[in-house]
């Protein structure tokens, strides 16, 4: 049995009449220590999926198990990095992390908890910003604190919900490298949600595309064969890298873009931004981006999805 197992999970929102299926027939197995990236359209339901793994919401049907035990709510075995950092603005960087440490390791003496907090702040290269409030930190720094907070819980699974989505390309690249390094050091089981195909290829062992919603489902997994450590500059010319990228994009723009239910829209049209009955947050579907993770990207690759969409 896999360490993290998702079986036939479905989730929808709304009442009986205006019900919108967000996710349908989601099946996923993640081995212990594996780094998995789920790549998909914005609004397809990626956050819904990761929230269910975190235990913040329950699936309508199907099961999620961690180490054989079904997920019924949040647990210390699963840490989470939120999409918008979600640091508490009235606490300093140190206190934000310490809050998690204090709760998770409540029996430890204070000195040990402080040491533990400092260790993880150092791991994300936070430098001298320990005593600054989130408002005084840059976006990259805030995300580092959020990563440190999740890591400091020392949970076996780390869930990351588009952790770098709000950052500029350069900061993004830096933190991607840090995540790769931290994973190499800790070998945690990581589920990364992203809309950036290259980010997934750079970091993950396996990439699983999520089709466009409603009733989004996971496509065939693509194993990333590129050896680690992965060099973002060399990767643009690497055949294995290109092959993975093509497979993922082909699914996302091909079968993954087709809506499962019959409707007036033909499979090849660009997803309508206002899908009937779908909640506002889940309705605007935009295609996953390619290129921001790869640093200097060749123009033909960056342009590829736009050509197909046009």
């Amino acid at each position: 049995m896999a360490f993290l197992e998702i079986k036939k999970v479905a989730k929808g929102f709304g009442g009986k009449r205006d019900r919108a299926e967000i996710l349908a027939d989601i099946n996923l197995e993640v081995a212990k220590g594996e780094f998995v990236a789920i790549v998909g359209y914005s609004g397809a339901g990626k956050s819904t999926l990761v929230n269910m793994i975190a235990g913040l919401s329950a699936p309508d049907s199907g099961t999620i198990t961690v180490d054989g035990k079904p997920v019924t709510g949040p647990g210390s075995d699963r840490g989470m990095v939120f999409q918008n950092y979600s640091l508490l603005p009235w606490l300093t960087a140190f206190d934000n992390v310490y809050l998690a440490v204090d709760q998770t390791f409540s029996s430890w003496p204070v000195e040990k908890k402080r040491e533990h907090t400092n260790k993880y702040l150092a791991m994300v290269n936070l430098g001298q910003a320990h005593h600054k409030k989130p408002a005084e930190l840059s976006g990259g720094m805030r995300q580092r604190v959020a990563v440190a907070r999740a890591l400091a819980m020392e949970s076996e699974i780390l869930l990351m919900d588009e952790p770098l989505g709000a950052l500029d390309a350069l900061t993004r690249a830096t933190i991607q490298d840090e995540i790769a390094r931290i994973w190499a050091e800790t070998h945690k089981t990581i589920v990364l949600i992203t809309n950036d195909v290259d980010e997934g290829i750079l970091l993950a062992d396996r990439i699983i595309p999520l089709s466009v919603g409603p009733a989004a489902t996971l496509g065939p997994a693509v194993t990333v064969t590129v050896p680690r450590p992965r060099d973002r500059k060399a990767m643009n010319h690497d055949a294995g890298f290109k092959a993975v990228r093509n497979q993922v994009i082909e699914y996302l723009l091909g079968p993954g873009k087709r809506r499962p239910q019959p409707g007036p829209s033909s499979p090849t049209t660009v997803p309508s931004p206002v899908a009937k009955g779908v909640p506002a947050g889940a309705s605007s579907a935009s295609p996953p981006s390619v290129g921001s993770g790869g640093g200097a990207t060749s123009p033909e690759v960056a342009a590829a999805p736009r050509e197909v969409a046009a």
Partner: protein
Amino acid sequence: MKAKARVDVAAIVLPLVGIVVIVGIWALSSATWSKNLPSPFKTWQVSKPFVVAPFEKRGELDQGIARFAWYSLWLVAKGYTLALLIGTPLGFLLGRSKLFAKGLDPIIQILRPVSPLAWLPLGLVLFEKSQPAALFTIAICAMWPTVLNTALGVRSIPQDYLNVAKVLQLSPAKTFFKVLLPATLPYMFTGYRLSLGIAWLVIVAVEMLTGSPGVGGFLWQEYNSLIYEHIILCILTIGVVGFVLDRLMSVVERRLRAA
């Protein structure tokens, strides 16, 4: 520089112009159509002993105006504290529990607009003494802004923060003190400031009706003694004290928002 200096002059001169105009209308009124209204000069003459020796106690009904204001403030402080002690937890309950909100909201909407003059007799019936009745009236009139603003603050807490509390598995106490309370604090203090304003409004009515010593009691007594100059003195005192209280609270409020 020049523009700034002009603004400063305007900030001093314009209020002075306003005061002069109002005092002018007052003087004109007392000289023409309202013979009972004391003139500004006469008001000052008669009020002088109360203002120049504000803390003096010459007799039970003959005390400096600051002393009267102090009595009122002390009573307000007690009633206001009671209002916060009841209003804040009530606000949290309303904000956190939909069931509670649905059950209590109509009652709150009906009780909120009731005048202090209507509550006081009920207080006297309930407690049979003027002091607790006064506290009851101040508390029940002043607590609504605290209740409603606290509830609004609790409802406005971003879902993200609540998710963090859940994922970090914070205990209920930690969730309250580290997440709910700090997130609600700015709203709470807006409520506290508005509540203080109402408490100060209510005190005058309460003192008049119960005859307890204070600015309101003094006002009513001087009206009955036909010393109309002191009515104006009391009105001005009530206004100044209320203004100062509001300023003090908004300083605290702004500090909390900045933090």
